[in-house]
């Protein structure tokens, strides 16, 4: 066997094109396409009483102007509900173009297609929409209150859905508990902000009735099936490619955003390729956001801080529509216990409509809220009882011998939440060792004596990753010996081209350069689900393994016939097969691939083997293709996990506050992380770096600010403050590996891990620094200054 690539920090295969300007993002396709621009509601809630498009149509270069009345068939109906649920009492989704009511500022009202984006914007500006304003409801708590204005004119209240579950007997536990506390925790609205905005390009070939779409999406397969159904086309006439995608972080997993339907629709209607590249302003008001929850917790503990019972009643802001169902708050509820045993746990969640941009997963997806609540509870319990919060954590940890561990509530996939493996004590110890916690505490005490306002915070989490339903992989060997791997989900920077190549190369004994990976192209593989929920390496990775194993089996069988040995004696090494113990009896994989395809004609020099084999077989009275075998070396396999696999970790933050201005500096940020076995440690560390940056942004800089009338007030990169290199601390990392018993590779997902506990760790550190609780995130300098004053 060649040196094993699994587990090695190999440099990425995909880098070359990105470094030289040859990456191909959606906006780079179809340079001569017409461009779309959209008219979006500037009111958060209104009835549309008229739309005058006449002036727009007169702008030079305009090819079409469309409103809801122009839409036909299924396209005129409300967009599909992506994740249905019986608990949704008002499963409301939006129209591709608003019909008669707009429910958030940014909702699409009209579409223009013109020769270029400049002209399209000129025309969009000339469309006059008449509105009859309706009272908007913007604030989450207000929206959940009786008698509040409703986000939708036809609804009686703003409830989208409600779920409650109980594990154990919380009332009894709280009654019996020596100490019971009640606290409120708030997390505000934020957004993913991928550097590449969304984009769609559609080309319709009338002659062949084929639609080809390039879409900056995390889920090309869903877009394809969905569009085929909406347009009444055969699925095989619709293809969707997610080419290079400039970041997604959840925002690009929605199927569909209105533009994803309208752009292909317009391409069919107008008979020209149509392109839409979202601009940043549109991204702020037209692409989904997240966070936005209010938790009211009651917790009962004993004198040592053991949690006897916990109840969490919380509100989740679903925005104006709920196409993602109740998944986000359900994730929060299921993941709230984290690494702790909650034998009596009850939650009641209410998902509430507001006249704001709809919400759906953003990196962390409900889990940052969960970790924030749970880790603040731990810290506050310790504070109330005068205990060391690290001891309180240890006392409540699920123990290594308790796995598989049943949390007792329903997981996001509808099954029970069952942790597959974990060793939380070891993880915390690893963090504390990396942090050198005793020295850090001494150092902080010294700094405090010199007047500095500093603090240390720790927070842990458990993240359900690698969920189903399934993902697939196609693996084949080309005549030149290249191992060709294809998966159907999209890639947004997670190094899938490299890590899948590592898996396939190991299995087939080829060097990394001998593997070519394609992702997100339904022309290569039609079945798959998407890139979300830190699932792709786990689910697609195991599918790649299976398909590679199947190709290996086929190759061994063909080689065994040619070399006249048993398949078990075929060794895969350096892009060839050879007989065990006889490395000179070798066949390169490419020739083996040709040989496995017995042909009538030697259509190329390397194909002679196939033709010769065919003749030999007949000469010997055999079938050229033995019973049970297939031509070529190719397989498509799928992997469907029984449930998620649960990574975990602990973060430690050292912060300093400027007590005069309220500015916060993160002096140290230390990460412990465990996602089972690691395919490529360099890639895993990179995922953590990025996740932590989004976490620190979410804790101290980034917030979507809505005005009282429901407009986003900071819809630019001048006012929505993405962290830059100057604000980020150097991140220190330590890893443990607790393999998952649930999949052959033993891996778990890592995509969201870096983000999840950051707000909690920063809040705990700030609370430590200031001596007052920080129970709301994010905190900006002015908020911190108010806390400083409260502490005085």
């Amino acid at each position: 066997m060649t040196t094993r690539l699994f587990g090695e920090p190999v440099a990425r295969k995909e880098d070359g094109r990105f470094l030289t300007g040859r990456g191909r993002y959606t906006a780079d396709f179809e340079p001569h396409a017409a461009h779309a621009a959209f008219v979006r509601s500037d009111l958060a809630h209104a009835r549309i009483t008229g739309i005058d498009t006449a002036a727009a149509g007169e702008v030079p270069g305009v090819l079409g102007v469309f409103t809801w009345t122009d839409l036909d068939g299924e396209v005129a109906e409300r967009l599909p509900l992506l994740v249905p649920s019986d608990a949704l009492v008002n499963p409301r989704t939006q129209h591709a173009l608003a019909r008669d009511e707009v429910c958030y500022a940014g909702e699409v009202v009209a579409m223009v297609v013109a020769r270029d984006r400049y002209a399209a914007e000129d025309a969009a500006e000339r469309i006059l929409v008449e509105y009859e304003p309706l009272p908007p409801v913007v604030d989450l708590e207000t929206a959940a209150s009786p008698g509040a204005p409703t986000a939708h004119a036809d609804m009686q209240d703003n409830l989208a859905g409600r779920v409650s579950e109980e594990h154990g007997d919380v009332d009894r536990a709280l009654t019996a508990a020596p100490h019971v506390f009640g606290w409120r925790f708030v997390m505000e609205r934020s957004a993913a902000m991928p550097l590449e905005t969304r984009a769609v390009v559609a080309r319709y070939d009338q002659t062949e009735d084929r639609l080809l779409i390039h879409d900056s999406t995390q889920a090309p397969t869903g877009v394809r099936f969905g569009l085929a159904m909406l347009f009444g086309m055969d699925t095989d006439r619709v293809h969707v490619v997610a080419p290079d995608v400039g970041g997604g972080f959840g925002q690009k997993v929605i199927q569909f955003y209105p533009e994803e339907v309208l752009v292909p629709w317009a391409a069919r209607r107008l008979g020209v390729p149509v392109k839409w590249v979202e601009d940043r302003r549109e991204n702020f008001i037209g692409s989904n956001q997240e966070r936005g929850q209010i938790h009211d917790v009651r917790v009962g503990v004993d004198d040592e801080g053991r949690i006897l019972g916990l109840e969490d009643r919380f509100l989740h802001d679903t925005g104006a529509y709920c196409s993602y169902g109740l998944i986000l708050p359900i994730i929060t509820a299921a993941q709230l216990p984290g690494p702790y045993r909650l034998e009596n746990y009850r939650y009641e969640l209410r998902s509430v409509f507001t006249n704001t941009v709809p919400t759906s997963p953003y990196r962390g997806a409900g889990r940052p809220h969960a970790a924030f609540v749970m880790e603040r509870v731990i810290e506050k319990v310790a504070g109330e009882l005068g205990l060391d919060s690290l001891d309180v954590r240890r006392r409540n940890f699920i123990q290594p011998d308790q796995f598989p561990y049943h949390v007792g509530v329903t997981f996001q996939d509808g099954g029970p939440t069952v942790y597959d493996s974990g060793d939380y004590e070891r993880g915390l110890d690893a963090l504390l060792a990396e942090l050198d916690v005793e020295r850090t505490r001494t150092e902080l005490a010294d700094w405090r004596r010199t007047g500095r306002t500093v603090g240390l915070g720790v927070a842990g989490y458990v993240e359900g990753t690698g969920i189903g339903p399934y993902e697939g992989a196609s693996v084949s060997i080309d005549p030149d010996g290249t191992v060709s791997v294809a998966t159907a989900h999209g890639t947004q920077g997670q190094a899938h081209e490299t890590v899948f190549a590592q898996i396939a190369a190991d299995e087939l004994g080829t060097p990394l350069e001998g593997v070519r990976v394609t992702t997100g192209d339904t022309r290569r593989l039609g079945f798959g689900v998407g890139t979300y929920a830190s699932r792709t390496a786990v689910v697609a990775g195991n599918a790649v393994l299976r398909a590679a194993q199947e190709v290996r089996r086929q190759a061994a069988s063909v080689a065994a016939r040619i070399l006249e040995v048993a398949p078990e004696d075929v060794v895969f090494q350096d892009g060839s097969v050879h007989v065990a113990g006889a490395p000179d009896r070798r066949i390169p994989l490419g020739r083996l691939a040709m040989a496995s395809n017995p042909t009538r004609y030697a259509f190329g020099r390397d194909a002679e083997e196939g033709a010769r084999l065919s003749q030999l077989a007949y000469a010997g009275g055999d079938r050229p293709l033995p019973e049970g075998s297939r031509p070529g070396l190719a397989a498509v396999e799928y992997y469907s996990p029984t449930s998620g696999v649960f990574g975990f970790g602990f973060h430690g933050a050292v912060v300093e506050v400027d007590p005069e201005t309220g500015e916060v500096r993160v002096l140290r940020y230390v990460v412990h992380h465990d996602s089972g076995r690691v395919i490529n440690p360099m890639v895993v560390e990179g995922q953590i770096h990025g996740g932590v940056a989004q976490g620190i942004g979410g804790a101290l800089y980034e917030r979507i600010a809505y005005g009282p009338e429901g407009q986003v007030q900071n819809a630019s990169f001048m006012d929505f403050l993405l962290v830059s290199a100057a604000e980020m601390p150097r991140i220190e990392q330590v890893h443990t590996e607790t393999p998952s018993p649930n999949n052959p590779l033993g891996i778990k997902g890592v995509g969201e891990a870096g983000t999840i506990p950051v707000s909690a760790a920063i809040a705990n550190a700030l609370s430590d620094a200031l001596g007052v609780p920080v129970d709301r995130m994010p905190v900006m300098p002015e908020d911190v200054l108010a806390l400083v004053r409260a502490a005085e």
């Binding site: 914007e121 601009d279 800089y701 830059s724 100057a726 604000e727 300098p781």
Partner: protein
């Protein structure tokens, strides 16, 4: 986010440029470095019918020292000032202020004259001009005139320049004689962001150690950059002590009228301005003492 259509003119001389402004009146807008105007055009918050690009007007790109005055042509890029190494010790207020403007690519394009004419109340150049009691020249159809710093800034994004006038030159008196120290400090949410509040200061000391001259220019705290005259008066004749600086800070925050926005309420900005006055004075005093 594409700009609306406009007619573009690239005059080669000031005379030609002024002629274009006269011809097109209010419809025309001067394009200098474009680092503020073009983003506004991208959002279609600014939709000029005519752009008069000064990029080709060579006579606006000069810089020199005349006696104790730094003379900068209006099209001098921020980067060019930042690169004047000698200025860092002679008048750190200028270089420190300039270094707080945006990021390298912004400073490579943005111009001194553009920043002054744009008159963003949170921008650095207006404070530098005010703190140093500088002046600018402007040329219009009726010829040249000089405008003192104190008369230039009127309110948000509004100056004493007429629509058909072009700011041509900036003159900044540099410190001389008495030991002098200066500093520019600000609080911004991220490196390179517009200031939540900022202070440019310069103080000169008498041989006996007392303050003989003090200038305080504050940004981000009113509809225009503010010279805190009463705070300056409270400093003169006193020693550069913590107590004196604290007193000056409390006077200064009475001279400003911050408005509230996403990055800070009026009260917060006022408070931060006071903190920054104290910090800026402390740095400037240390430098003056070492001069």
């Amino acid at each position: 986010m594409k700009p609306a259509p406009f007619s573009y003119f690239a005059p080669r001389s000031l005379h030609e440029a002024v002629g274009l402004l006269v011809e097109h009146g209010d419809a025309a807008k001067v394009l200098a470095g474009g680092q503020s105007l073009v983003p506004m055009m991208a959002f279609r918050l600014a939709m000029p019918d005519v752009l008069v690009d000064l990029g080709g007007v060579g006579e606006l790109e000069h810089s020199r020292v005349e006696g104790d005055t730094l003379v900068l042509g209006a099209m001098t890029r921020h980067r060019a000032v930042q690169d004047m190494g000698w200025l860092r010790t002679r008048c750190p207020l200028i270089v420190e202020g300039v270094e707080l403007i945006g990021h390298p690519a912004i400073r490579n394009r943005g111009t001194v004259g553009g920043s002054l004419a744009h008159a963003d109340p949170a921008a650095e150049w207006p404070a530098i001009l005010l703190a140093l009691d500088g002046e600018v020249d402007a040329v219009g159809p009726n010829g040249n005139r000089t405008i003192r710093a104190a008369d230039l800034f009127q309110t948000y994004f509004t100056t004493a320049l007429a629509p058909d006038e072009i700011l041509t030159e900036v003159r900044l008196p540099l410190p001389d004689g008495a030991p002098t120290g200066s500093a520019f400090v600000e609080m911004a949410r991220r490196h390179g962001d517009f200031a939540v509040a900022g202070v440019g200061t310069q103080i000169s000391l008498h041989p006996n150690g007392t303050i003989v001259d003090a200038r305080l220019a504050l940004i981000g705290v009113a509809d225009r950059p503010v010279r805190a005259g009463s705070a300056e008066a409270a400093l003169r004749g006193h020693g550069p002590t913590e107590e004196v600086f604290a007193e000056a800070a409390s006077v200064a925050i009475g001279e400003i009228e911050p408005s509230s926005d996403l990055h800070g309420s009026s009260d917060y900005r006022r408070h931060v301005a006071g903190v920054l006055v104290r910090r800026a004075l402390t740095i400037a005093a240390r430098r003056a003492a070492a001069a």
